[in-house]
């Protein structure tokens, strides 16, 4: 059995709330070639849906968006 390599992608969105707190949303399987317009399109519907986790402050905006690609290699431990 050989080593196994798996690659995963996560869209990491940092949301800012009116009290200054941040909260990160991680969404698996982001689309390839995401654009800023697609991310910004999340702002309007998020405004009355997301709340901060400390004092339930209202959502303000998404500050950053990152696509994180992780490659994990599972080593084959059966080989000498």
């Amino acid at each position: 059995m050989a080593d196994v390599t798996k690659t995963t992608k996560v869209l990491s969105l940092v949301a800012e709330f009116t009290d200054g707190d941040d909260r990160t949303l991680n969404l698996d399987n982001p689309k390839n070639d995401l654009t800023a317009a697609q991310i910004n399109a999340l702002n309007a519907p998020a405004a009355n849906v997301l709340i901060g986790d400390q004092d339930q402050a209202a959502f303000k905006q998404f500050k950053t968006a990152k696509v994180i690609t992780s490659t994990v290699t599972y080593l084959d431990l059966t080989t000498a």
């Binding site: 982001p30 849906v49 997301l50 709340i51």
Partner: protein
Amino acid sequence: MAKTSLIISNTDSTTGKKLQKTLTDINSAATNDELKTFAQAVNAVTTNTYGESNRVDRINVDTEESATVSKLFREITVTDAAKNATAKISFKRTEDEASYGGVSLTVFYYNTQESTAEKLTTSSVSSEAPTALYHVTIPNYNGRLYVEIEATEDFYSEFVKLTISS
């Protein structure tokens, strides 16, 4: 205080694989339409090709110390009288706890959140299975609807999940 979460369930139209995203700290005052719009926007940035959303609350119920009545109010607005309002209640117990016997849940429906509200209807479910899913449908309902769950017997449960949709 029950925590409000939004669970977005998707079925990939290519693979048929079930995908699920759970977002916590959701504004309980958000309307179904706002939640659905947000869920659709989330789906637009991921590879899921089909999605739907429902309001979901999860509460922990444990009546080991006393016959505590656990209540959870959720609200939906049904605008199309031709559609049914459906409450889906699922619960799961650990294998060991299942030996304690059956569970009895009672579901009440109100048209207002006031505690003195007149009950529209009542439905009960009992099960000895360690897991179960129970659907309650209110046909031809038009307006705001509040759903309350009571665990009226000893209830050793990992969770009770209530989803209401229209």
